[in-house]
Symmetry: none
Subunit: 147 residues, 2 copies
Amino acid sequence: MDTIINKVDTKGRVSLPSDYRAIVKELSTEIVCYRSLTSPCIEGCAEELLEKIASDMETSLDFFSQTQDELTNLIFGDARRFSFDSTGRILLTEKLLKHAQITDTAVFVGKGRKFQIWNPENWEKEEARIRAEIFKNRPSLSNKGGM
Amino acid sequence: MDTIINKVDTKGRVSLPSDYRAIVKELSTEIVCYRSLTSPCIEGCAEELLEKIASDMETSLDFFSQTQDELTNLIFGDARRFSFDSTGRILLTEKLLKHAQITDTAVFVGKGRKFQIWNPENWEKEEARIRAEIFKNRPSLSNKGGM
DNA sequence: AAAAATCCCATGATATACCATAAGAGAAGG
DNA sequence: CCTTCTCTTATGGTATATCATGGGATTTTT
């Protein structure tokens, strides 16, 4: 999955890149999107994955179980199903677009079983940051011969 | 899922968001609402789920060290059925509206199998609080959840 | 009879489905 | 190796269906 740039029209519609669509389509005809907890971007995945993420988080919580309750609030309260039409587009909400500072252009970034949608400039910075981070840890990588 | 803002008219009527309605409608034409034990908000769910919800709550509130009976009594004693009309609206009671401090606007927050109804300002604060809380504990989450 | 609740209809707004064009990638053939 | 054709994908526009909401009418309750 590579990064793909698509336009957001005046109504907030975006084409989900066909590669991404194909993967989801095996499961269903809709995806789930929510505001990233850690970055100014939108995250998307198949609904099944969201439920898995939610349950994974629950089991990984060692502090008060009250937080579990709050987690479901945060995840299920923020997430929403988006079904894409015959042309493969979804209509993003104001809330999501605002959080990611997206106006007329969106960058899709694959992240394994999920993906992120970024404002182009923000993603450029983020990518640079990640590259720098990786470079900093280069020695530990080259030891294993991975790259 | 999702968070939706709807108006409460002069008669106290609120439209139950269509997504929520659709899910409940598979089962019946009415929902159950009660005052949240932990927050200034209304909680709602399908009647079939109430018993399950109650027991879930017991396990998640174990630090209150209350007996199961006391909690279930509390919820069941407070819960009431609300049937929605052909346009999908329910008429909330004074007791519920007062508890949630709702006057003319209500925020529906998805919570998986149930949902909450908040006063807009209160929810805004609560959401910010939860996000900060979760973010603080992010390191322990990112290991497993990947959000 | 008055008040409250339920039902029904009308309307504006919005999301969804649909069609049509344009741009790009890959395949086939010269 | 280049050209042409075809198929997929992205994007713009339009129509249709759905939903939220206001108002009124009818029914029920006390």
